[in-house]
Amino acid sequence: MSKLSQRHLLGIKNLTRQDLELIFETADNFKDVINRPIKKVPSLRDVTIANVFFENSTRTRLSFELAEKRLSADVVNFSTSTSSVKKGETLLDTVNNILAMKVDMVVMRHASVGAPHFLAKHIKANIINAGDGTHEHPTQALLDSFSIREKLGAVEGKKIAIIGDILHSRVALSNIFALKKLGAEVMACGPPTLLPKYIASLGVIVEWDVKKALAWCDVANVLRIQLERQQIKYFPSLREYSLYYGINKKILDDLKKEIVLMHPGPINRGVELTSDAADSHHSIILDQVENGVAIRMAVLYLLAGANSPK
């Protein structure tokens, strides 16, 4: 019996290695559950969860909703495009109104960095960060590490290269925290304009040449170019980016070694990954999606369980 050191899942930064391992062990059991004929367990039947998404999402939101439903929680969904946020309601007012309807947990995605941390200071419910701006996306990092652990047996000692738009990626930051805590070697690779200035201070290796990065690593986690967050031009054109940083089947074949290819989605096919690479036997992209549900079930279970209603 053990529990997480935190009441909320705001980021990987404030979790311990024991927390990560507890989440993985719990997720192992949930992965078994979701592969049964009856994919549901009654653990969270007296818990109500609000999915509050101030930013677009397909995978994360579906994955959270499925995880909640497989745990028998009651689920309410909220997205800004159809809500009163458009009429000028503040974040705290919106969430307090949702909580007034007796909600126990809030899963939130927001475009502003620190939005879930702000909420955690002001409300009682457990908060799970489903992505805050360019800061953290903890459940994605958890499922990425979980997928590496499943594919390679362990994360410790493995070499992982994160390739692409590191500057705008919350997935990259959460992944770096998680992988370092689990004892992996991490490399950040991308054009110099898309690498944050002080990234090396997180203890990662910096590399500008994608071929060198691929030759070095056991696992390549390829990220999308986040055009929607780029206010200025960081590279001349998408075509040029894909020419220098795009990964195709030929590059992978030339490596003459086994490599694991990951992508948090959505893929821009033909930009960071060509179709023949994304669909090759190296890719575990769809396993990541499956593991996402198990990881989110584990996080919800562990957070809800530590919060007794008495």
Partner: protein, 181 residues
């Protein structure tokens, strides 16, 4: 901590032999019977009984592990969430006679959760419960065991401690322990 011996290694062996004979009497050829050990502690007992039975009836009997953690009714009512163990049932239980095995029967809540967890794998034609130790007059639910190794009179403040070699103990022993106040 006061300890009282309930069963020693020899007595346990005799009891297990008797339980196996009772099972054979009820299931004769085990053609449609399967064994499910309840995680985390019932699986060691299930393995012991399974090995003895296979030797006696000279055929393979399916053995699985059932974890009840996600089906417990005390979730969010305890300080720390219960840690799950592996469920391993690589055979069909639909239409089978299931023998559930656990070490100690106390409130009956784990058995209730087990029945719930088991249904996720299909609808057995019959379910029976075998326990090594039945604590008398302590049930919270209307649940009774079909096969019992030993009935024990206990106080709420006592605990039954099952030590099996398979769990890493030096000798098979069952104790009654007074909990420290």
């Amino acid at each position: 901590m006061q300890k009282k011996l309930v069963l020693d290694s020899n007595q346990l062996d005799i009891t297990l032999d008797r339980l196996c004979q009772q099972l054979i009497e009820a299931h004769s050829h085990f053609s449609d019977s399967v064994i499910l050990g309840m995680q985390p502690r019932g699986i060691f007992l299930a393995e012991l009984i399974h090995a003895k039975l296979e030797k006696l009836v000279k055929k393979k009997i399916p053995l699985g592990y059932l974890d009840t953690t996600f089906h417990r009714d005390d979730f969010r009512r305890r300080e720390i969430p219960a840690k799950a163990s592996e469920t391993r049932i690589d055979f069909v239980i639909e239409g089978k006679n299931v023998i559930l095995i656990d070490d100690v029967l106390f409130t009956g809540r784990t058995v209730r959760a087990a029945l719930d967890a088991m249904i996720a794998f299909g609808r057995p034609s019959k379910v029976e419960l075998l326990v090594l130790v039945d604590r008398k007059y302590t049930r919270d639910l209307p649940i009774a065991a079909d096969y019992v190794g030993r009935y024990v009179d206990t106080l709420e403040s006592q605990r039954v401690l099952v030590e099996l070699e398979a769990q890493g103990y030096r000798q098979n022993k069952i104790w009654l322990v007074n909990k420290d106040k």
